[in-house]
Amino acid sequence: MSSIFIENLVLRSQLGDAQAFGELYEMYSEDMYRFAWYYTGNKYLAEEAVSEAALSAFENILSLKKPSSFKTWLFKILYNECKKMQKSKIISASFTDYSEENSKEYITDDADEVIALRNALAKLSDEEREILILHYSCGYSSKEISSITGIRATTLRSKISRATEKLRKLLTM
């Protein structure tokens, strides 16, 4: 997708064109949901976080000064939305549920490997989890992750490789 095209859509959204915003949203909705899903570990919370972030992004799109940075700006809002939930302890409550059988229904309808991955992710620190999800699941570069999370880009590379190693250990344990 050319950046001019995206900028055009951002400008149109800023003029109040909901359809244009819809196009933009559709471009990133999968990434957003995947991030929220891994972050919150709960499909309902993920759905709520993404939908709240999308609505809040449209409402506040006039505060975006550089249309070219739409993607990181959008993720910053989503990241904040997820963080907010974490602050209110909702997520930590849902994390503790993983070890129990009843949580399967709650997280996803999917297989045991997914639960294993979620459990492993839960053992990482918040920061490690965030950067791994952003890097692997959403395919973001160190620079992009840096602008979303505020961690310095230069230290991110080593952080990513370390966290990856840790996750692997946890998964093969």
Partner: protein, 706 residues
């Protein structure tokens, strides 16, 4: 962006739910009428207040001059409902309520309904507002009702309980922020342990006598009846207070052995049972107090229990009744005790009650504030409700100040500062000034900025330090105020500990800083000039969250904070990182203790639960020999410890173990539950087909169904 390597790790692609399709998002945008909004400091609904004020003045003027006949007010009323329906009524006269500017209350239930209709229409949120209301609000309000099943026994008013020779002289109490007591899952009075423990869906308060290590009694609260202990109990002499939540769910399914509930939203009700425990083996329930909403936090000052809950509107099970006013002790609150702010636009109540636990008949107080608080800070005289909000121009912390005088609760002021607060330790009150430390994210420069604000008694900003880290892009991880000083740990790469001098409220300054690898998540004052930090280790390059770090700082010289010693536990994890109450401090023995779970990342086997007891005498951190509790099984729940006399007691859902403090030897144990108790019998016949199972396990009321 998927390659082989990634697929290996994140092999799973979650399926996007229907509700997140482009069309349904656009539908929501349309339904809520969202348009990109310009960022202006004030919200528009003040216009309605002004309009309403004018209307009232006009009517008044016309009535005085006799220019109004009987038809007049009716026409006025119709206009209000058809045109910009509904406008919130003009708030009650400020003078009459002795309320500060910008804080309003409601005169009648009609006004509350109007308010909710207005909010509901503005935000396109669905509320039920029924026309008739079963309880007469003014009659029911503030009545002290006793729960039906309660047993009334004579109450000793002045002193509750006494200390006998059987009790140890010294023991570790709950690690509270200040002199106000805080509820916890484990309490002790020097002889008995009071423990909240869980077996599957049933929560218990268990009383253990440490003299002969015997389980004396247990009080069950079954989730099947909708009850769940919210993790806060209090002990005050011969009174035990148990706070629990009663959910509005309707139980009608069991699924895989777990009880499930039809979900229709609602925060339920928070109740507190007050027991007389003069006979520890037979606790007697004296009375119960209740209030709408789920628990935010509680405090106890003297004999007064302050309970703060959050209550959001939902229809009841049949979906045809609606309580737009919260209830306290079974009756709806007086509308005059509901506070709202003109700039707020929220439909969630924060309900505060004050109960004297020593006397059932004593007067009780309550106050409801229309604000969606997520946390609170309590000083000796005031309660500060706080919530973080993002309003488009940036992160904000909204603070509401409530004064506490015995059971009298009054809203004093409301204000906001830039940035999000971290936890209750982000706030501190001294001599009427509230000091707050926040982090805000600057959306222009993509930087975190840490600030300190000093607010006066009306929550107006007196002074501030706008950027504590001076452009370092760091996030606040821990704050501790001690008198005129504040210690702030921020983090991005290394762990600077900043020392702030607040002795001049008009001119707070950053005095000293100390850079350390890793970061602390909790700071604990050990004694004058000495601070203990608990957090993660690391090196210059990065933090290492697999290392638990305990550090001792010398902060007696403000300009030059020093590290005295540090203690690293590899692969360790402690609950103190998110709950400071897990830490015990025993000044009589110069020790601190934290529960530590040690993971074996490279081995097999279960993580090991042990209690790290660290001696800090001579400004050196040394480990006092091992206090291994047991290998961790997931079902055993939260792990804590407490000291009584010469012994340490470690507790989880299954057992209390007594260790000798001097050499760590395991002395005795008291079994609370066995593995058998946790086994769930799955009854296949009760398992209904998946199609009827529109259920959510009742653990969270986090999402709101559309």
């Amino acid at each position: 962006m998927k390659d082989k390597y990634t697929e290996d790790l994140f092999g799973f692609e979650p399926e996007i739910p229907e509700g997140l399709s482009k069309d349904s998002i656009l539908e929501k945008i349309e339904k809520r009428g969202i348009t990109p909004k310009k960022h202006e400091p004030k919200k528009d609904n003040s216009f309605f207040f002004v309009a309403a004020l004018f209307a009232v003045l006009l009517i008044g003027a016309l009535a005085l001059t006799g220019g109004f006949n009987n038809k007049g007010p009716a026409v006025q009323g119709q206009e209000a409902t058809t045109e910009i329906r509904p406008q919130p009524q003009k708030p009650a006269p400020v003078e009459a309520q002795e309320l500060p500017e910008g804080i309003y209350t409601f005169e009648s239930r009609e006004q509350v309904e109007e308010y909710f209709r207005y909010i509901s229409e503005k935000n396109n949120v669905f509320f039920y507002v029924t026309d008739d209301f079963a309880v007469d609000i003014n009659e029911g309000a503030l009545k002290n009702e006793t729960a039906e099943e309660s047993v009334t026994v004579p109450v000793i008013n002045s002193a509750i309980g006494s200390v006998s020779a059987d009790y140890a002289d010294s023991f570790t109490g709950t690690n509270t922020q200040n002199s106000a007591d805080e509820g916890d899952i484990i309490k002790t009075d020097g002889r008995y342990l009071y423990i909240v423990s869980y077996i599957n869906t049933v929560s218990y308060v268990k009383i253990v006598d440490t003299k002969d290590m015997k389980l004396l009694s247990e009080l069950p609260y079954d989730n099947a009846d909708g009850y769940n202990i919210s993790g806060e109990i209090y002990i005050k002499g011969d009174r035990l207070v148990v706070l629990y939540n009663k959910l509005d769910y309707l139980k009608n399914n069991t699924y895989g052995g777990f009880i499930c509930y039809d979900y229709y939203g609602g925060d339920g009700e928070t109740l507190a049972d007050i027991y007389d425990i003069s006979d520890r083996a037979k606790p007697e329930k004296l009375f119960t107090v209740s209030q709408s909403g789920s628990i935010v936090s509680t405090r106890m000052i003297g004999n007064i229990l302050y309970t703060v809950t959050r209550y959001t509107q939902f229809p009841d099970a049949e979906g045809d009744d609606f309580y737009c006013v919260p209830s306290v002790n079974g009756s709806t609150v007086d509308c005059k005790s509901i506070i709202h702010f003109d700039e707020e636009n929220v439909s969630t109540y924060t309900v505060i009650t004050a109960t004297d636990i020593s006397d059932e008949k004593a007067e009780r107080g309550n106050l409801s504030v229309l604000t969606n608080s997520t946390g609170l800070y309590c000083s000796e005289d005031n309660l500060y409700l706080a919530r973080n909000k993002y309003d488009g121009s940036g992160d904000k912390t909204v603070i509401t100040k409530v004064s506490l005088k015995g059971t009298e609760i009054k809203c004093e002021a409301s204000g906001e500062v830039n940035g999000c607060y971290n936890d209750k330790y982000s706030f501190d009150e001294k001599e009427g000034y509230l000091r707050v430390v926040t982090t805000r994210y600057d959306y222009e420069s993509f930087c975190n900025i840490c600030s300190l604000y000093i607010l006066d008694e009306n929550l107006g900003t007196v002074s501030k330090i706008d950027d504590i880290t001076d452009g370092l892009n760091e996030e606040v991880k821990a704050v501790r105020f001690m008198g005129d000083k504040a210690y702030v740990v921020t983090f991005a790469q290394t762990d600077p500990l900043f020392v702030l001098d607040l002795s001049d409220v008009n001119n707070p300054v950053v005095k000293g800083e100390l850079y350390m690898p890793g970061y602390s998540t909790y700071l604990h004052p050990i004694k004058e000039g000495i601070l203990l930090g608990i957090g993660y280790g690391g090196d210059e390059e990065r933090e290492d969250t697999s290392k638990l770090k305990i550090a001792l700082y010398d902060v007696s010289d403000m300009n030059n904070p020093k590290i005295l010693d540090e203690f690293i536990i590899n692969n360790g994890y402690t609950d103190v990182n998110y709950d400071a109450k897990a830490l015990i401090h025993y000044p009589a023995k110069n020790i601190v203790g934290i529960p530590v779970t040690i993971h074996s990342y490279n081995g097999y086997g279960n993580p090991v639960k042990s209690f790290a007891v660290i001696d800090y005498s001579d400004n050196k951190l040394t480990s006092v020999s091992g206090f291994v509790h047991d290998s961790e099984e997931y079902y055993k729940g939260t792990f804590r410890g407490t000291c009584i006399g010469e012994n340490l007691y470690t507790v989880d859902d299954c057992a209390v173990i007594e260790h000798r403090l001097s050499d760590g030897e395991k002395l005795r144990e008291c079994i609370l539950a066995t593995e058998e108790d946790f086994k769930v019998n799955i009854n296949v016949e009760e398992y209904k087909s998946e199609d009827d199972m529109d259920v959510v396990v009742a653990t969270s009321s986090a999402f709101i169904p559309e």
